[in-house]
Symmetry: C2
DNA sequence: GGCACTCACATACTGAAGGTACGTACTCAG
DNA sequence: CTGAGTACGTACCTTCAGTATGTGAGTGCC
């Protein structure tokens, strides 16, 4: 029973060795198995969800054993986190790419970002891994840390562009608040789009609605309407 | 070893028997244990999350055995769903209560609903069970069905009030879209509020931001600006 | 008022799945 | 060439959701 790497080395590892030429062969093999684990895990997590995807299935799909998995990851949750980061990273890149070339008109930039996000959110892996399972598996704290430096950063960027369009002086906290609101709006809208019977029509409706909201914003900005800072003073009129 | 109902019947069931006078004693006992299970499950799900809360802990807390649990519920998920429904129902009632007496001014109604929701969303049980774990445990489909007839219904009600304030003719789908967007915005904002270092200040910021967005709406409505229906016709200007 | 019947549980067990301890072949520096 | 460490594989343990089955207290019926 000593035919250890008979199948795996031939059918999976060998074709992917020249990924990083500078590194040693062992490191290349190691990186390859790690990628294979993440690949298979992403697929199974997307298809069946976190709880229903067993580690046995994952390691079988990657043609390794649990020993390999626990060598690369501290546990199932860490593996999920690796998958999560990659999906998030890809999504963030896609949105960021769509944002290029809109440095001049922040409103166009916002709409471009919205369209890109509505595309991303229709990917099953993003829906399942990031939106649906992310908060529960990672816990809201870690979930938020991850979002903070990827998709949410994009939204914050857009929001800042739009807000500064009217020469506004808003503190960081208030900008974050606006970004949170729009981020939540887009996530929810995105979910509605992707789970709709007619995603295209739903996406159009979302664009229309958010476009309208942005129009209201624009009108206020152009008319130099400031934020109702009265809220900051006291709570005099609590019914 | 035949002291079966020695502890349970004395310490827990007896004091709650006269809950439903008309029903038989057996039914009263049964309802009492079911409630106890839901109570304990709600607590443990809130404190430790769905996965980390074991059925053994739950039945121990309710002073029953797994036989009782599986008599009342088909499984762990069904128990969670019962908890979910109650938490959602309570939240919905709280918001609905705050909405009363604002039939005249839809804008005030919206703000009142917002404030009530921001209160609700700070309850740990709502955060954990509905927002954080709900989508993952129930699956997005069932999650949405539940929301549809409770909290989301409230938001839809508010949105319709606001939209019809300007004598608008919007189809149901478009109203639903607006409601989805605001619902997502409020959920996300609520999460930000409840996980903030200073929830009160965060709540004020959210109120300010959403109030501002509503102001933009109001301006558009009062100036008879219609929705950009051009989106519905074609996609002529896709960059 | 006795009696069968059923409901509302309790008890004991099973299988699956995440995690761990330890062994081993292969690689690479020297 | 050789010792050391890496990158796994193997076997086992533990926890936990779910199941099969038993049983006594209520309840309807006569």
């Amino acid at each position: 029973m000593l035919r250890r790497m008979s199948k795996s080395s031939v059918s999976r590892l060998v074709p992917k060795v020249p990924s990083v030429p500078g590194a040693s062969r062992r490191a290349a093999y190691s990186a390859s198995t790690k990628r294979a684990l993440i690949d298979v895990a992403e697929q199974l997590f997307t298809d069946h969800g976190y709880a229903a995807a067993s580690l046995d299935q994952i390691v079988a799909g990657a043609q390794v054993t649990k020993g390999a998995l626990y060598h690369h990851f501290s546990g199932k949750q860490a593996l999920f986190e690796a998958v999560f980061e990659r999906v998030e990273s890809d999504a963030s890149k896609a949105v960021k790419k769509a944002l290029k070339g809109h440095r001049d008109d922040p409103w166009e930039k916002a709409l471009a970002g919205l369209r890109a996000f509505l595309e991303v959110v229709q990917e099953p892996r993003y829906r399942r891994i990031v939106i649906q399972e992310g908060p529960a598996v990672l816990g809201y704290e870690r979930y938020r840390e991850q979002e903070e430096r990827s998709t949410f950063a994009n939204v914050l960027d857009i929001v800042k562009s739009v807000l500064t369009a009217g020469d506004w002086e808003l503190d960081e906290a208030m900008q974050q608040t606006f970004a949170r609101i729009f981020f939540g709006a887009m996530s929810s809208a995105g979910e509605a789009v992707s789970s709709s019977d007619d995603p295209i029509a739903a996406a159009v409706r979302v664009e229309t609605a958010i476009g309208f909201i942005l129009s209201g914003f624009q009108v206020l900005v152009e008319n130099d309407v400031t934020l109702p800072n009265a809220f900051h003073e006291d709570d005099s009129a609590t019914s």
